[in-house]
Symmetry: C2
Subunit: 240 residues, 2 copies
C-alpha cells in the first residue's frame, strides 16, 4: 500500500490538485487535510483514505501511502511552509439525531464557522447545520479551525430551518432587536439555536420561523463576534 510518486504530471497528483476547487471537493466528498493533528483525528474517526508523506510513516499502517516530493507538497498545500503530512479524507454520511442543534444562518467567515463547530462538540450539542449560504464544511479554513471537531460531530448543509421546526424543535434565534436577555429564557424540550450573519444578523425568513428571540446585553459596542456570542449561549443552554 506504499507507492512512490514524484512526477507532478502523475494523474493521481493532478486529481489531488483539482481538490483545491470547492465544487470538486463537495462533488467527490473528498478533500485534503494538513498536519498530524487533523490527519490522526480523521484516521481515528474512519474518515482518512490516503496519506502523502516525504518519508515512510508508520502511524497509519492500514491506509494507502504515497511517498512524494517537496515540490508536490508545495503544489498541494495551502500553507507557505507545508506540513510534513497531507491526508485525503472524506466526511461520513451523517444525520443529526438529538435534542440540541446549532443552525448557522449565512455565517460567512470560515474561522467563525469552524470555531462554532469546535465549541458545539465541546459542549455536547447534537450537530451543526451550515444553512443559508454559510461557509462550507469543505472550506479549508473551516476544517482547520474546527481543530478536528468536524470529524467527531455531525455537520450538515442540506436541512432547512422550517423542516426542523416541523419536526418539533423550538427555534431560538439570536437578535439585537425585540429580544429578551438569554438568562430570562429556558428552552423546554428539543431546540435549535440560530446564529445569523456577521453584519446583518438573522434573515427575515429565519425571524418568521423563530419561536423566541434572545440577546446578550452589551455596553459600548453594538455587537459581539458571532463565535463569541455562540460560545456564551451554547455554554448557557447546554444545561450543565
Amino acid at each position: 500500500m506504499i507507492k512512490v510518486i514524484t512526477s507532478v504530471k502523475n494523474q493521481l497528483i493532478k486529481d489531488l490538485v483539482s481538490l483545491k476547487s470547492s465544487s470538486i471537493k463537495k462533488k467527490e466528498n473528498r478533500f485534503l487535510i494538513e498536519g498530524d493533528d487533523l490527519v490522526s483525528l480523521a484516521y481515528e474517526n474512519n474518515q482518512l483514505d490516503m496519506i502523502l508523506t516525504l518519508e515512510e510513516n508508520l502511524s497509519y499502517p492500514d491506509i494507502e501511502q504515497i511517498i512524494t516530493s517537496e515540490q508536490i507538497f508545495e503544489k498541494l498545500s495551502n500553507n507557505k511552509s507545508p506540513s510534513k503530512i497531507i491526508g485525503v479524507a472524506h466526511f461520513s454520511n451523517k444525520e443529526i439525531k438529538g435534542d440540541r442543534i446549532i443552525f448557522l444562518d449565512n455565517v460567512q467567515d470560515p474561522g467563525n464557522v469552524g470555531t462554532i463547530i469546535r465549541t458545539a462538540l465541546s459542549f455536547s450539542y447534537s450537530g451543526v447545520v451550515l444553512g443559508n449560504n454559510s461557509a462550507s464544511m469543505y472550506n479549508d479554513k473551516v476544517i482547520q479551525s474546527t481543530k478536528g471537531a468536524i470529524f467527531k460531530i455531525p455537520v450538515i448543509e442540506n436541512i432547512s430551518l422550517s423542516l426542523l421546526k416541523d419536526k418539533g424543535y423550538q427555534i431560538i434565534s439570536t437578535s439585537l432587536q425585540n429580544a429578551c436577555n438569554y438568562k430570562e429564557f429556558n428552552p423546554n424540550g428539543k431546540f435549535v439555536l440560530v446564529f445569523g450573519n456577521e453584519g446583518q444578523g438573522i434573515s427575515e425568513e429565519t425571524l418568521k420561523l423563530s419561536d423566541v428571540l434572545i440577546k446578550i446585553n452589551m455596553d459600548h459596542i453594538d455587537s459581539l463576534n458571532v463565535a463569541i456570542a455562540a460560545g456564551i449561549l451554547m455554554n448557557h443552554y447546554r444545561g450543565e
Copy 2:
C-alpha cells in the same frame, strides 16, 4: 490640508510604506488602518492623523488629506482589493484604571487577541494587557479583528502580572489542571483574569502568581478556542 501625491517615490509615501514593519510602527506609534469603519472610529476617538483617498473626502474636515493613486493604495494596502480609504492613526497613551483587567499570557493568534479586546469592551472591562509575547497591538490583524474596539478601551503591552498582583489585584487564571469550575468561584474586589497560550496554556511563572485557577467543563475535546473561553468567562465575571 489637502495634497495630491501620485509618485511612489515621494518621501511621505515611502515613510508610510515603511509602516508595514511592526518594529517601525511600534517605535513611531503610527500605523495604517483601512476602511471607513476603522478610520471613523479612530477619528471619533482622536487617534486619526491623516487620511489617504482616491478622491476628496468630506467626512474628516480637520484631518490632513492626501489624494493619491490606485497604484499607491495597492502598495500601502494589506488586502487584495484595497479599501477606498486608508488612515494613519496612533494609539493614545493609556493607563488601565479600574477593577477588572484582562491579561493575555502569550496568546499568539492575532484574530484571538483582537476578538478578546472587542469582547472586553463589550463587557465593560477596564483594559487589556498583551503580556508575555502575545500578538502586538500594532499587528494589522489584531487591529482589524477588534473592529475598532482598540481605539475605545485601554490596551497596553508593558505591565507585568507581578506588578498587578503587587497593586492588590486578585489573579484568576484559566487552566485545565487543578482548577475549579468557574461557577464555583466569585472574585471579591479587583481582579485580573488571565488567559494563556493556545497550545500550552498559562506559563509556569503565571501559575505561581495565580491566586485561583478556574476552568470551563468540556466534553469530547480537551480545549476551547481561547477567545471563546475568554468570552464565556468575561461574560460571567462582568457581574451583570
